[in-house]
């Protein structure tokens, strides 16, 4: 491998060492398939604008049309609130599409990454490359 590639790897390692603190430092992400994007669509039952994390409870149609409740954790109101989200960004009854990182154990839950609201607008819920 060329020297240039090694220095790139060194920089990436250094960045990950530093960034290790970052993002959702309240807890580890070991319970999620972090980085694996899945999508679901359903109807918001309740949006909890709470610390240390916001939480989406959503009814998702399952097999034979039977509704199943999913619980999706997100960044905190402190973080989201400074990046365009509000308490009213999601409302009970809203039909939304959500991109999320699923739980590893297969239960109906995960961490939400972005949400497309009924008006077609997409709200980012995690740091993107430009932030």
């Amino acid at each position: 491998m060329k020297l240039r590639n090694w220095s790139l790897i060194a920089v990436i390692c250094a960045v990950s060492l530093v960034l290790g603190h970052s993002a959702i430092a309240h807890h580890s992400t070991a319970m999620f398939e972090w980085g694996t994007e899945k999508t679901l669509s359903g109807t918001i039952e309740r949006y909890e604008w709470t610390q240390p994390h916001t939480f989406i409870w959503i009814a998702v149609p399952g097999k034979q049309g039977k509704m199943r409740e999913w619980g999706l954790e997100g960044m905190s109101p402190s973080w989201l609130g400074r990046r365009g989200w509000t308490l009213h960004s999601l409302n009970t009854g809203d039909k939304v599409a959500i991109v999320y990182y699923p739980l590893k154990d297969g239960r109906p839950g995960g961490f939400y990454v972005r949400v497309t609201a009924p008006d077609g607008k997409t709200l980012e819920a995690l740091p993107t490359r430009n932030q």
Partner: protein
């Protein structure tokens, strides 16, 4: 968004200040005081007057992690004693295996982070200057750090606490803070749980440009580190932000399980 809001706020504040001082220069001179000597005495002893000499650290400060620039040496890894090296190796192996954040600590169960980890949480903080004291209010967990700058020595054997016992002094525009008596179950660096009662944290805090505060943190604990371990972190100023309330117990789904492993609860909040 952040890069535009901050300068606008700063420009507004600066222009407002300039406008006020311009108006002031056109005002008629103040009426002479009836008893100048009596009026001057309390002012001279007013401890708040000395605060005007301190740098402006107003606003809210948000941690940023500056990646190393091209040609710049990457940050050094800590050098650990054998028991802590084993913990570190396990953590690094996990980082290679799975994406995301792999450091499991009691912070997930709403036990607050201790110093120095409390200073690098993803939520901002603010600084208050009062006579003989700097107070840092950290949004995460609503933590408070009291740094005594009145020149009194640190107490002889303070009770251990999450944020430790701090004394500080100003070296020109740099605040130098020395902290000890930090609870040994806290984390001295990401990836490591626990340390001895000898952990000492030295911090140097200064503005490196009008809206960037740099904090250099040195951790010393012979039980953990073979040599003192220093990191440098930047904080960006947001004049228009306000610190929010943060009660971790409000709706926590991430408390560790009985074996101390990361977990996730799908139970509803009480009352729902």
């Amino acid at each position: 968004m952040r890069s535009t809001v901050v300068p606008v706020a700063w420009v507004t504040a600066t222009c407002a200040a300039a406008l006020l001082s311009a108006c002031g220069s056109q005002s008629p001179p103040a009426a002479p005081s009836a008893a100048p000597s009596a009026a001057a005495a309390p002012e001279a002893s007013n401890p708040y007057a000395a605060l005007a000499k301190l740098p402006d650290w107003g606003g809210v400060w948000d941690v940023t992690f500056r990646p190393p620039q091209a040609g710049q040496a990457p940050p050094a890894e800590p050098k650990f004693t054998p028991p802590y090296q084993a913990q570190w190796d396990k953590y690094q192996a996990l980082n290679k295996k799975q994406k995301g954040l792999n450091f499991v600590s009691e912070v997930a169960s709403c036990i607050p982070p201790g110093l120095p980890q409390s200073m690098t949480q993803p939520y901002p903080m603010e600084f208050l200057f009062t006579p003989g004291r700097v107070t840092i209010l950290i949004e995460t967990e609503g933590l408070t750090r009291r740094i005594y700058t009145d020149g009194s020595p640190p107490p002889e054997s303070p009770d251990p606490s999450f944020q430790g016992t701090s004394v500080g002094h100003w070296e020109n525009d740099t605040l130098v803070v020395e902290t000890s008596a930090i609870l040994p179950e806290t984390s001295p660096v990401n990836g490591i749980n626990g340390h001895s009662d000898k952990l000492h944290i030295s911090e140097r805090m200064r503005l490196v440009d009008p809206n960037t505060l740099e904090i250099t943190t040195t951790r010393t604990d012979p039980a953990v580190f073979v040599e003192p371990y220093t990191t440098k972190v930047d904080y960006k100023r947001h004049r228009d932000w306000k610190i929010m309330e943060y009660v971790c117990e409000q709706n926590n789904h991430d408390a560790l399980d009985a074996n101390g492993n990361a977990a996730f609860s799908l139970k509803h909040k009480p009352g729902e």
